[in-house]
C-alpha cells in the first residue's frame, strides 16, 4: 500500500520551512521530493541597493548561525573585486572568529540532532557546554550572535594580549570535554542504533550531487575549501580535511560518520585557534580605518570578485560585481545547504519514516539561507522545469544584449 506523507512546510522536526513529499510503502520511503522557496527574503535584492559596508551587516543576517561565514566570504569577494590587501593580523583574527563559529555551530548541531532522535538529555548537555564558546565570542566581539567584527579590508576589533588567557582557558575546557562528548556521541548504544547505517550517502552520490562540507567529507570525499584553496590565514596552517576514517576503519557515509566528522572538526578548530593565537603577527587590523575613505575607494572600484569560505556546513560562496557606483551591480550569495539539498534524496530513499528527522538534520540544513528564489506566477504554478528555466535564461540574455548591458 503506497501513500504520500507531506512533511513540512511547518513540522516539529523542521526548524525552518521546507516541504518534503514522501511516497511511502508502509514505514519505508519509496520516493521523496524536496520543495524549497517558502522563506525567500530578498536579501540580495536589498543588498544591491546599499553600499558594500552596509551589505556586510546584511550578509551577517543571512544566517543565524553562520554570522561570521557570510561576512567573511562577502568581504573577501569585495576585497578581490576592489584589490584591497588585508593586514596579516586581521587575517588571523578572522580565522579565529571563523573557527570559534565552527565550534559553536557543530555543538549546536549535535544538540539538535540528539533532539531529533528523542534524546533530549544530550540536547541540554551539549547546549550547556556550548555556552562557553558563546561567552568567548561575546568577550572578544561584544555580541553572541551577530558579531559585527568583519570589515572590508580587515576586522573591527583587535584581540589584545589580556584577552588571550580567557580564550586559551575555553579551548582547554573543550579539550578536556572532548573525550566526554566522544563517549556520549560515539559509544552510546541508542545513538548508535539510530545513526549507524542510516541515511547513507555513498562517495559516488556525494560527488554526483556536489555535496559540500561535513556532509561530503563524511562520505569520504576530502573536500574542504580551507585545504583545497587555502585562503586568509589558513594558508599558513596546513589544514587537512577531516574524513571519518580518522576514527572508523571504513567510510560508510551514514549519519554516524557525519557525527564523527563534526566531532573531530571541533577538535581541529581548537588546534587551529591555538595555533593562530600562538603565531599571530602584530600590526594593523584593518587596511583603511576611515569608513568614508574606504567607501570612496569602493565607489571607484570596477571589477568582479569571489569569496569562498568553508562555513561549518560547507562551502559558502559570494560573488560581487562592482561597476563604479555606490551599490554593487550584482551580489550573489550561495549558502552551503543549497548544495546539500540534492544529497537528501539518495540519503532518504529506502529509509524509514523514523529516520527522516535525523537524516534531514544530518546535513545541518539552513533553509532560509538557501532560499534564493521563490516563483510566484499566476495563482499556483510553483515548479519550473529545466527547459523552462533554460528558456527564461535565454530570454534574459537576449533582453540584456538588446539593452546593451552585456
Amino acid at each position: 500500500m503506497k501513500y504520500t506523507l507531506p512533511i513540512g512546510p511547518i513540522h516539529p522536526a523542521l526548524k525552518e520551512p521546507i516541504l518534503f513529499e514522501f511516497e511511502l510503502n508502509g514505514e519505508r520511503i519509496a520516493n521523496v521530493d524536496v520543495k524549497l522557496g517558502h522563506v525567500h527574503r530578498g536579501i540580495e535584492w536589498a543588498g544591491m541597493r546599499r553600499n558594500p559596508v552596509q551589505i556586510l551587516y546584511l550578509a551577517e543576517r543571512i544566517c543565524g548561525i553562520c554570522s561570521v561565514s557570510h561576512p567573511f566570504a562577502f568581504s573577501m569577494a569585495v576585497e578581490n573585486a576592489a584589490g584591497i590587501e588585508v593586514p596579516e593580523r586581521a587575517e588571523y583574527i578572522r580565522v579565529i572568529m571563523a573557527e570559534l563559529e565552527r565550534i559553536h555551530s557543530h555543538i549546536l548541531w549535535a544538540g539538535v540532532a540528539a533532539h531529533e532522535i528523542g534524546f533530549d538529555t544530550v540536547l541540554y548537555l551539549t547546549w550547556r557546554v556550548r555556552e562557553k564558546v558563546m561567552d568567548v565570542i561575546e568577550y572578544l566581539t561584544g555580541n553572541r550572535v551577530n558579531k559585527a567584527i568583519y570589515m572590508i579590508g580587515g576586522v573591527r576589533r583587535d584581540i589584545t594580549k589580556e584577552q588571550i588567557p580567557k580564550v586559551r582557558e575555553a579551548m582547554d575546557y573543550y579539550k578536556g570535554l572532548f573525550n566526554k562528548l566522544a563517549k556520549v556521541f560515539l559509544h552510546d548504544k541508542t545513538i548508535k542504533m539510530r545513526t549507524e547505517h542510516v541515511g547513507i550517502l555513498t562517495r559516488e552520490d556525494a560527488l554526483k550531487t556536489c555535496a559540500v562540507g561535513p556532509t561530503t567529507r563524511a562520505s569520504g570525499v576530502p573536500k574542504d575549501v580551507r585545504q583545497d584553496y587555502a585562503y586568509s590565514a589558513y594558508a599558513d596552517l596546513n589544514i587537512k580535511a577531516v574524513t571519518p576514517d580518522i576514527y572508523r576503519k571504513e567510510v560508510v557515509g551514514d549519519v554516524y560518520d557525519r557525527i564523527i566528522v563534526r566531532l573531530f572538526e571541533v577538535k581541529q578548530s581548537i588546534q587551529i585557534i591555538e595555533e593562530c593565537i600562538e603565531n599571530m603577527p602584530g600590526g594593523e587590523i584593518v587596511s583603511e580605518p576611515k569608513i568614508p575613505k574606504l567607501l570612496a575607494t569602493l565607489k571607484k572600484a570596477v571589477g568582479e570578485g569571489i569569496g569562498r569560505h568553508e562555513a561549518p556546513r560547507g562551502e559558502v560562496f559570494h560573488y560581487v560585481k562592482l561597476d563604479g557606483k555606490e551599490a554593487p551591480y550584482t551580489w550573489k550569495a550561495r549558502a552551503p545547504t543549497y548544495n546539500n539539498v540534492l544529497a537528501w534524496i539518495p540519503m532518504l530513499k529506502g529509509e524509514q519514516i523514523a529516520d527522516i528527522p535525523i537524516v534531514a538534520a544530518s546535513t545541518d540544513p539552513c533553509i532560509s539561507c538557501t532560499n534564493r528564489v521563490s516563483v510566484i506566477k499566476g495563482s499556483n504554478k510553483y515548479t519550473l522545469t529545466k527547459e523552462e528555466l533554460h528558456k527564461l535564461s535565454v530570454e534574459k540574455t537576449k533582453r540584456r544584449m538588446r539593452n546593451g548591458i552585456l
Partner: protein, 336 residues
C-alpha cells in the same frame, strides 16, 4: 449483597479510584517531570504543572477534524480513561483489598492494561490524518511486541504461586498481595524473580509509550502521531488516562513484587496502619515509576519500531523465559 453496598461498590468506590488515579497520576507526572529536568540540568516546571495543563486543556476548544469519524473520535478518549481507571479497581491500594476483588483477576488486568492502547489506536485511525495513521500502526506493532514478554512475566509469578498454594485463586491480585512470591522461592528462583521483575520494568515504558518507546507519538517524526488531531477536552482525557495508567501499571508491579506493608512495625491503631501503608504504597509507586520511567527516559534516545519489535520479540522474551526456567528449576528441584 444489600443494594446500598452494591451502590457503594459500583458507584462510590470507582469514583474514589478515579480520584486517586487522577490525583496521584498527575502528581507523579509532575514529580517525574521535575526529576527528569534536574537530571538534564534544567529547573523544570513546578510539580503542580500537570494539573494546570489538564485544567487548561479542558477549557480549550475541542476540534473534531472534518475527515474523521466523529463519534469514534470522541468516544475513544473517554473509553481510554475508563479502562485505565478500571485497572485500579483490580489492584490493591495500600493495604486495602482491591475494590472488585473476587470479580476478576490478573488476566483481566492484563487485558485492561492493553485496552487504553487499543483506544489510542482506534482514536488515531478515526482521526483521518496520515500522521495519526502512522502512529496507530506503530502502536499496534508495539502492542504485539510487548504483550508476550508481559504475559510471560505475569504467568511465571502466578504459576509459582499456584504450585505452592494449590487449590487457591492465585490469579487474584489480593491473593498475590498477601502471599509474596519472594517467600516461596529458593536461590535460583530468586534470581529468576529478579529477571522477571526486570522484564516487567522494561515493559513499563513501552506500555506507557514513553521514551525510548514514544514511537507512536514521536513529536519530531510524526508530529504527535496518534494524538496529532486531538485537542481540548479530548486531549485532556488522554492526558489523564496516561497519568492513571502510569499509576495503575506501577501498582500492578508493586502488588506483584513488593506486596509488603510496614504498618506492623509501628505501634499504631488500625486506621493509623492504613495511613502508614498507604504512604508506603505511594513510596513504592514512586520507586517503580522513577526506575521504570523517569530514569530510562532521560538516559536513552528514541528507537525505531523495527528495533522495538526485535528487542521485545527476541531479547525480552528470551530473558523472560530464562527467568521462568530458573523459577521452574527452583521449584521442581532439578538442581538442588
Amino acid at each position: 449483597m444489600e443494594y446500598y453496598e452494591l451502590l457503594f461498590r459500583v458507584i462510590i468506590l470507582p469514583i474514589l479510584a478515579l480520584g486517586f488515579g487522577v490525583l496521584f497520576g498527575l502528581t507523579f507526572k509532575g514529580i517525574d517531570r521535575k526529576l527528569a529536568a534536574h537530571m538534564q540540568a534544567r529547573v523544570g516546571p513546578p510539580i503542580r504543572q500537570p494539573f494546570r495543563d489538564v485544567a487548561k486543556l479542558f477549557t480549550k476548544e475541542n476540534i473534531i477534524p472534518e475527515n474523521s469519524i466523529p463519534w469514534l473520535f470522541s468516544v475513544m478518549p473517554i473509553l481510554c480513561l475508563v479502562s485505565a481507571v478500571s485497572v485500579l479497581l483490580y489492584t490493591p491500594i495500600g493495604s486495602f483489598e482491591p475494590i472488585l476483588s473476587g470479580y476478576g483477576d490478573l488476566i483481566v488486568v492484563l487485558y485492561l492494561l492493553a485496552l487504553p492502547a487499543i483506544c489510542l489506536v482506534i482514536g488515531g485511525f478515526a482521526s483521518g490524518s496520515p500522521y495519526a495513521t502512522v502512529g496507530a500502526q506503530r502502536e499496534m506493532v508495539m502492542m504485539l511486541s510487548y504483550e508476550f514478554p508481559l504475559a510471560v512475566a505475569i504467568i511465571s509469578i502466578v504459576w509459582k504461586l499456584s504450585l505452592v498454594y494449590p487449590g487457591e485463586n492465585v490469579f487474584s491480585l489480593g491473593f498475590i498481595m498477601s502471599h509474596p512470591v519472594w517467600n516461596t522461592v529458593g536461590f535460583s528462583g530468586f534470581i529468576g524473580c529478579v529477571i522477571i521483575l526486570f522484564v516487567l520494568c522494561a515493559t513499563m515504558p513501552i506500555t506507557l509509550a514513553k521514551i525510548p518507546f514514544d514511537i507512536p507519538e514521536a513529536e519530531t517524526e510524526i508530529a504527535g502521531g496518534l494524538l496529532v488531531e486531538y485537542s481540548g477536552k479530548n486531549l485532556g482525557l488522554f492526558y489523564l488516562a496516561d497519568a492513571v495508567k502510569t499509576v495503575a501499571f506501577a501498582s500492578v508491579v508493586a502488588a506483584l513484587f513488593f506486596p509488603y506493608g510496614i504498618a506492623c512495625y509501628f505501634d499504631v491503631s488500625t486506621t493509623g496502619g492504613y495511613v502508614i501503608d498507604f504512604i508506603f504504597f505511594l513510596v513504592k509507586l514512586f520507586v517503580v515509576i522513577f526506575i521504570g520511567l523517569t530514569f530510562i527516559r532521560v538516559a536513552v534516545a528514541r528507537i525505531k519500531i523495527d528495533q522495538v519489535a526485535h528487542i521485545y520479540w527476541m531479547l525480552m522474551t528470551i530473558i523472560g523465559l530464562v527467568g521462568l526456567a530458573l523459577i521452574i528449576i527452583d521449584s521442581t528441584g532439578v538442581i538442588s
